[in-house]
């Protein structure tokens, strides 16, 4: 039985904005806790023979839009494989990089970039930046959970026929006008939640690794992680959200 978890980290140097490497540390730590060997592979523009199906989990961090074109050109030949990948395997795409996997990226200067078209959404670069906490509930791998994190919104995400990843409790989400946060396609998560989302929400990390285990025909690890520290963190950040002044449209009014 294969006891190695293979993680594909897309363009870590090109896309490196918000402490995103924390997600790699989190998934690696959870894999190690369950007794697996975890191998992390960095994929960059010079990687030869990239095949998404070589990996159990793929993470694409957020990046500056100025670098999107060469990345899309690199990934284009692997479009079909990436679509097949997210049918059953977990992939996490965060922040601006959602646009790469969507249909089109509309820039603030009226130019546009064709995305990979893997998910049916379009993104629109904002003229101003909006940063805030982000709090929502979602379901992944059959389990409901709450997610807490941050959002630095540099673009609107217009999901067409895709399902949202989360239902907002607080935050800007996709457009500031809907109750939706991110998108989910198959087992692919496309979220505005930035930084170490898998560190702050280990319950999501556990579900990702559970799914990897199922995909690999391994027994799902039963011993739960001690998440007390992260639950305390969630609690205190929710307390901040509940008392904070906000100019956002209330979720109930969206």
């Amino acid at each position: 039985m294969d006891m190695i978890l293979k993680i594909g980290w897309l363009f870590p140097n090109t896309f490196n904005l918000h402490g995103d490497r924390g997600n790699i540390l989190a998934i690696k730590a959870e894999g190690l806790r369950r007794g697996y060997k975890v191998e992390v592979f960095q994929i960059n523009l010079e990687t030869k023979d990239f095949d998404p199906m070589d990996y159990d989990f793929i993470f694409c961090p957020p990046g500056e839009i100025v670098h999107f074109k060469p990345v899309i050109e690199f990934l284009k030949p692997h479009n079909e494989a990436l679509m097949t990948f997210i049918e059953n395997r977990p992939m996490l795409v965060t922040g601006t990089s959602i646009g790469i996997f969507g249909e089109e990226i509309h820039r603030d200067d009226n130019s546009s970039i064709k995305g990979l078209g893997i998910v049916n959404l379009e993104v629109y670069e904002s003229h101003v930046v909006y940063g805030d906490d982000l709090y929502y509930h979602c379901q992944y791998n059959g389990n409901k959970m709450e997610i807490i994190g941050n959002q630095i919104q540099m673009m609107h995400v217009e999901i067409q026929e895709e399902s949202p990843f989360g239902q907002l409790i607080y935050g800007y989400g996709n457009t500031g006008n809907t109750k939706f946060e991110g998108a989910r396609s198959g087992k692919g998560i496309f979220t505005n939640t930035l930084g170490p989302v898998l560190v702050c929400n280990p319950w999501l990390t556990e579900e990702i690794v559970n799914l990897i285990e199922v995909n690999k025909g391994l027994p799902v690890w039963e011993e739960k992680r001690d998440n007390s520290l992260e639950l305390n963190s969630l609690k205190t950040k929710v307390a901040l959200i509940e008392k904070k002044e906000s100019k956002l449209i209330k979720i109930s009014e969206r």
Binding site: P12, N13, T14, N16, L17, H18, G19, D20, R21, G22, I24, L25, A26, A29, V40, Q42, N44, L45, E46, G63, E64, I65, V66, H67, P70, V71, T96, V129, G131, D132, D133, N150, I152, M154, L194, G195, P196, V199, C200, L229, E230, N232, S233, T236, K237, A239, L240, K244, E245, S246, K247, L248
Partner: protein
């Protein structure tokens, strides 16, 4: 006519505010003047734009401005500058109103302005400086700046072929502006005893020219050091024209262009400020390194980031970091790591409260390498500050710190912080927190609790 009304109002407000407090009002007179005359700054007389220097970038602009101002004044030059740190258009308007005659005439050898990088196009529209120093462009204030490219584009709007640029040789974004200017002068720092490397799982950045991965041979400060791109060849120069070298931490000296200098602050991020300031003085203001050197003997940085407090038998070394800025946090971590004595680390990363909405962001800590600190004899960690203390502790745990070695305090209560400091066996205490908590701690000590 409205310019004169605006000017006189600004002058009256300036005098009034000065009577109340000398430390206040660096923006208000300018704000009011700009409300009356939106072109207020443009309408001042006798400004030779070839004598105007903007100092902009993410980190180091205040210290560099202070140092340039100091060197030039020590060499008998009449300088108008915003060394009090009001770096928006209104701050510059305030200082110009203060320094001008009643008819808006100005007299100075040079105008040296620290300029907020985000608002640079607004300032430049009214004050088209022909010289600009760019310290560095890094991840910073993401709640308003988003990503470095957002700021890069702001600077691109302004930089033109009439400009002389003084550029940080070892910071890829800043250096890349060379292609847009009339003349570029480079400054940098030689590899020194506190230069460092980071592990392979710490990302670098993409090449500005070809998008491929950039390689740093080493860092002098986080994200700044000798770099190259293997794909297109974009690279820092091996020896830039103005290079701080022969850095001697023990003797607190360095050299530049063969001239010896006393080093007023032996902090690695200051070395770039020294090099940049000396480049401006020679290239724009014709003050040679020899003439500038004596000014280093009595330079005091306003609003520096390092302070030492005495508390009971303990020494508290406070380091102020910029929030949402991994580079200043990394510098602070490195300083602690280079101290091989037993220490307690009190880490109070804090909720962002710059403007509405406040939010709990500590994710930049994952860009920083804590390993050297953890390997440097830490007796105990205190993670404090409401809403973010658990995340701060978690960052340490992910770096290998035992949960049992961390006290987590979901609070900013000063007495509780001191109670934890009291428990430490070591007298060597490092403190990172925001200025407000630090000021309260300082008052606590001054109030006789010592």
């Amino acid at each position: 006519m409205k310019f004169y009304f605006a000017l006189w109002l600004a002058k009256i407000l300036g005098v009034a505010i000065n009577l109340v407090s000398k430390d206040r009002g660096t923006n208000l007179p300018g704000e009011k003047a700009l409300a009356i005359d939106p072109s207020f700054v443009k309408n001042f007389k006798n400004i030779d734009y070839s004598k105007v220097i903007f100092i902009t970038g993410t980190n180091g602009k205040s210290s560099t401005t202070n140092l340039v101002d100091h060197i030039l004044k020590e060499n008998g030059k009449k300088i108008i500058s915003n060394i009090e740190g009001a770096n928006l258009l209104s701050g510059i308007a305030t200082i110009l109103a203060k320094e001008s005659t009643l008819t808006g005439k100005l007299k100075a050898d040079y105008f040296i302005f620290e300029t907020d990088e985000r608002y640079l196009p607004l300032v430049y529209a009214q004050l088209p400086a022909e010289n600009m120093l760019i310290t560095n462009l890094q991840k910073d204030q993401v709640q308003r700046n988003g990503d470095p490219d957002f700021i890069y584009r702001k600077l691109k709007e302004v930089i033109n072929p009439q400009m002389t640029l003084i550029l940080n040789n070892e910071e890829p974004r800043s250096r890349s502006f060379e292609e847009s200017s009339y003349r570029s002068v480079y400054y940098g720092v030689e590899r020194h005893d506190e230069s460092f490397n980071k592990g392979i799982d710490y990302p670098t950045q993409a090449c500005l020219k070809c998008h491929h991965d950039m390689v740093f041979d080493y860092y002098n400060v986080d994200s700044i050091g000798a770099f190259h791109c293997d794909f297109c060849g974009y690279a820092s120069e091996t020896i830039p024209e103005y290079q701080v070298n022969d850095i001697n931490f023990k003797e607190k000296t360095f050299k530049l262009k063969g001239v010896d200098y006393n080093m007023p602050y032996d902090l690695p991020f200051m070395f770039y400020n020294y090099a940049g300031a000396l480049a401006i003085c020679q290239e724009i203001c014709d003050i040679s390194p020899q003439k500038a050197a004596k000014a280093f003997n009595n330079f005091k940085n306003i609003g520096g980031r390092f302070e030492v407090l005495k508390y009971k038998d303990k020494t508290i070394k406070y380091m102020r970091i910029k929030q949402e800025n991994p580079d200043t946090l990394q510098s602070a971590l490195n300083i602690m790591a280079f101290d091989k004595q037993e220490k307690m680390v009190a880490l109070g990363l804090y909720t962002l409260v710059d403007f509405i909405p406040h939010y709990a962001n500590t994710f930049y800590a994952f860009d920083c390498d804590f390993k050297p600190l953890i390997d440097s004899k830490v007796e105990r960690y205190l993670c404090f500050s409401e809403h973010v203390s658990y995340d701060t502790a978690n960052r340490l745990i992910y770096e290998g710190v035992d949960k049992e070695d961390i006290t987590i305090m979901d609070s900013d209560n000063i007495k509780e912080i001191f109670a934890e400091i009291d428990k430490a066996e070591t007298n060597n205490i490092y403190l990172i927190t925001w200025i407000s908590t630090f000021e309260k701690m300082k008052k606590f000590i001054e109030g006789g609790q010592n």
